[in-house]
């Protein structure tokens, strides 16, 4: 890190990336900022409204509801997927022909288009013809995710666990496989317990990748849209309407541009803030 040479010409190498990302990020973001401070009555006629939309969004129970559900969802997702992913990674074989098979099978859910994931879980969980729904009802649980908010929540979370835990597994596994065998042998000679091997050898080696896992899972679960939308449509009622679903509803469904734009900006700033914290932590751990 420290021996990098200073070279301002490096900007030239970064320029193409800068241009394409700026095209996609700066122009649309400015459009959103524009909408968020204006009102319109007919196409092309805008009035400056200042912070009206922001005040409206920040004080609306609908936004608070979506925000609360979003945080709850993300918190549950992280609380399940990170430990589960680490546990599965620890249980994986370290070498041999089965490693590739396990990795490929585990990575499979990650490469399914998100709306197919939603559609797949939709038919998997239907109470009358889906394996999960039929099975639960057969076992005596009254389960119908299209009508019961709790069942809908459980299904949405189970779906996300199904979809994304493998990412944590793969990351944690990558961390584990970078530990030389000699470490384990030394631990064995010292008579270290299983727990202290985990605490003092495996966990420190996984720290960096686990921060990446946490960062990726936070970002992606915080902007989750397609899967729950296809599965439940945000319902029953509003029970699984997360921030992105609510935002798309406001922007495209109701064409409420000002509100949607103000929501976008608030949403984006929140994501950015949390990610900055993670990112700083990650860079610190990389430097040390």
């Amino acid at each position: 890190m420290s021996s990098k040479t200073v070279n301002q010409k490096a900007w030239l190498l970064v320029l193409p990336v800068l241009l394409i990302v700026a095209l996609n990020a700066v122009i649309p973001l400015m459009t959103v900022v524009n909408y968020s401070v204006q009102d319109t009555f007919s196409p092309g006629v805008f009035f400056f409204e200042g912070t009206k939309w922001y005040r409206e969004v920040l004080s609306s129970p609908r936004f608070h509801g979506a925000l609360g559900r979003q945080f709850l969802y993300t918190a549950i997702i992280l609380a399940i997927e990170i430990p589960l992913g680490v546990a599965v990674a620890l249980a994986m074989p370290r070498k041999g022909p089965w490693v590739s098979v396990c990795l490929v099978l585990m990575a499979l859910p990650l490469l399914i288009p998100w709306n197919v994931v939603g559609a797949m879980w939709n038919i998997f969980a239907l109470p009358d013809i889906g394996l999960l729904g039929y099975g639960l009802n057969w076992l005596g649980f009254d389960y119908n995710y299209t009508q019961q908010p709790l069942a809908a929540w459980m299904t949405v979370i189970l779906m996300d666990v199904w979809h994304w835990t493998s990412l944590v597994v793969l990351l944690a596994y990558a961390g584990l496989s970078s530990i030389p065998d000699a470490y384990y042998q030394a631990a064995k000679i010292d008579g270290a317990s299983r727990l202290s091997v985990f605490r003092f050898i495996q966990l420190p080696k996984m720290k960096r990748v686990l921060i990446i896992a946490l960062l990726l899972r936070f970002m992606d679960s915080f902007m989750v849209y397609t899967e729950p939308f296809v599965l439940t449509g945000g319902g029953p009622g509003n029970s699984t309407t997360f921030l992105s679903i609510d935002l798309v509803k406001a922007a495209i469904g109701e064409f409420n541009l000002g509100i949607a734009a103000a929501m976008s900006i608030i949403y984006f700033l929140m994501t950015l803030l949390v990610c900055w914290v993670f990112y700083t932590a990650m860079m610190r751990s990389e430097e040390s």
Binding site: V17, I20, L23, A25, S100, L103, L110
Partner: protein, 266 residues
């Protein structure tokens, strides 16, 4: 201990495979049989749904459209990210750290925020409803990701390699293509895999940036789900077919997948 480990992995993979099995199961049933009741295996095995997809151009063109923008996006993302990642991994320059975070922050931007402005932007550029529009839009999150992954892999190559090459009189482009790129070939493969993956699975932008001629398969599926009543058999078959490109791509990178998922920084 061994058997506990085996059970954990086995149960986890079983859990992953169940919904996929159910999708395949449904895709071999007729819609009537699906709606008729619950069964573990297709009673009345049929390939009709698959036949419909391979013969009806609205269906198979959806796959082609998707593959078009996914491939374009992968090529654009990787080729633009290569020099940038090199700059970040080798040099310090004014604002480098801020720039790196700004790039990453775009990976964090919720696509829902950008749907409407994107439609406006690409309509203004006269690119609406073309594969290149989707390919460029997906650069929003794939280019930063590609830079991030490649930077990780490049930082693993000792700087002495560069210095020796420059002393030997290589010019930068010559050195980069002839010497450096082969050294990080695995990293480039993994990066391409990730770009492919995230472009392939994304739906919100792909759906909203196209209307007729460039409609991706994911959008055709949602439309079928909502308009043609409930063609479940067809929907399941279409879904099952979307698993194939992913499965093929994973198979190619299976050796590097673990390191790749750690974005090269283990």
């Amino acid at each position: 201990m061994r058997s506990v480990k085996f059970t954990v992995v086995f149960v986890y993979i079983l859990f992953l495979m169940l919904p996929i099995y159910w999708l395949l199961n449904m895709s071999f049933k007729t819609t009537n049989e699906i709606l008729g009741g619950f069964s573990f295996f297709p009673q009345d095995f049929t390939l009709d749904s698959y036949k419909t997809i391979f013969t009806d151009s609205t269906w198979y063109s959806g796959y082609l459209n998707s593959l078009k923008y996914v491939v374009m996006n992968t090529v654009i993302s990787v080729s633009l990210a290569l020099p940038a990642a090199y700059a970040f991994s080798r040099y310090r320059f004014l604002g480098d750290k801020h720039l790196f975070f700004w790039l990453l922050s775009n990976r964090m931007a919720p696509p829902a925020v950008f749907v409407l402005p994107f439609v406006e932007l690409y309509s203004a550029l006269n690119l609406f409803d073309t594969p290149i529009a989707v390919a460029l839009a997906h650069c929003l999150f794939n280019v930063p990701l590609a830079v991030w992954i490649l930077e990780g892999f490049m930082s693993g190559v000792p700087r002495e390699v560069d210095e020796t090459a420059y002393i030997d009189g290589y010019s930068f482009p010559h050195f980069f293509i002839k010497i450096f790129m082969p050294l990080i070939a695995a990293g480039i493969g993994v990066t391409a895999f990730f770009c492919f993956m995230f472009s392939w699975v994304e739906m919100l932008l792909a759906k909203n940036l196209t209307s007729v001629s460039a409609k991706p398969i994911v959008a055709i599926m949602t439309k079928t789900a909502s308009t043609a009543g409930y063609e479940l058999g067809l929907l399941a078959a279409a879904g099952a077919l979307t698993l194939i490109p992913g499965a093929i791509v994973i198979w190619f990178v299976r050796k590097h997948i673990a390191k790749g998922f750690a974005l090269g920084r283990v």
